[in-house]
Subunit: 136 residues, 4 copies
């Protein structure tokens, strides 16, 4: 199984622009953190929607790669996000992903998104990923 450290090294190499770090990896799950600073805010003192979508995408990606190995060609095929509450402007976003299925060619999971330290989710996402056929 891929360790958290290997996963973060992979992310830094493959996605140098990312502001997400993987905080935990489970058998079919992952928790990631997206740093929140000026760039992530929108008027009204809240975190922008695309930051939440990015965190959901990375959490799903991390959970899937944690399960199948570091297969760079895995790509998102769909994402559905519902925004539930206004995120806090001064807290990082935490994404908790639980995979629902990892098949041969498709993986699917859900992500609950939180402002750090708050138990009520700010958004909820479901995403599907295509897994390339060549994985060993």
């Amino acid at each position: 199984m891929v360790s958290k450290e290997e996963m973060n090294q992979f992310f830094r190499a493959e996605f140098p622009q990312t502001k997400c770090t993987v905080e935990a990896l489970g058998e079919m799950s992952a928790r990631v953190r997206h740093k929140v600073g000026f760039e992530e805010l929108r008027p009204g003192g809240t975190v922008s929607g695309p930051v939440l979508m990015t965190t959901a995408d990375v959490a799903l990606y991390a959970a899937i790669l944690g399960k199948i190995g570091l297969v760079a060609l895995t790509v998102t095929t769909s994402l559905t996000i519902n925004f539930l509450r206004k995120p806090a402007a001064d807290r990082d976003i935490i994404g908790e992903c639980q995979l629902l299925k990892v098949g041969r060619s498709l993986a699917i999971g859900e992500v609950a998104l939180y402002s750090e330290g708050d138990s009520a989710p700010v958004a909820h996402a479901v995403g599907t990923y295509s897994i390339p056929p060549a994985r060993s």
Copy 2:
């Protein structure tokens, strides 16, 4: 009706970090452009998913504000995106939004996303927005 220039001025004031510009506004539609540079790319020479999601979000937002006026408190409540083809790494992303309904409290529309100059969509999105009750 809001002009394209007023809309871009509004976006620059409200979302200073945005890389999107509004290129056309219709009665129930909008076309926006997202600049693509190093920041927007991911490994394999393609545009990242969050850039496509952002463009869809802005196209929907522009089309709705073009219809109801510059109501800053309008917020995204959901977004579903399906990724169809690999975007070109060296072209801007164009989002073409068509609204399906603008009700009193909820608006909904769809967006086709393209690499500029290519007629086959790279992604397709559907989004819903909550409209605040106080609009005049």
Copy 3:
């Protein structure tokens, strides 16, 4: 709080065609059962997609009404369903709904769908409902 018996009575009165029964109601949750017979099957010996969608819809509806009371005008505004595995042809479908948020005008929840007796979900759904303003 609404009891399971009151809820089923409400469903039989309001939706005489339904094949769903409510099996459990919690603070923000519900479990429903959809009978599976010839009408529910499709070629290849599996349960049809619309049956799964219907079960998801009813599970969400039951969970929301369990929370806000028997408000008949509550209506579905969106549903996203992902099909994960082939359901068994000879077992009822069970839908387990967990609400994510019940606001003043909108409620949202997720549903895991199972063939009875199997722990791997056959589908997963997320739905949103509009709640009429007049509820007391």
Copy 4:
């Protein structure tokens, strides 16, 4: 290319319970009709959500099979539907599907749903289908 008559014959053979008929087939499109009677209604004199979902599913299925041939093992992998307006209780539901992409293993399309004779859509859906590898 598959004719409308062959498609309806296929549907009657494979889905004897269906109340949908295919009314038109295009290169990447299809139009279907779902009969509306007592069974399709819900309280308040409107067409039930599952009827709209079924019509969307059949319209997508017909458009895809019209493109790739009558491959019975094609299955829905996801469906997202947004309900826009209350359908009329005394009119059939018409689903107009436009495919967005038909790849080797996945097809995706969108469907606008109408009460017959009304130009404002009652719902909008996006669906994805898995295509079995063995098609010739």
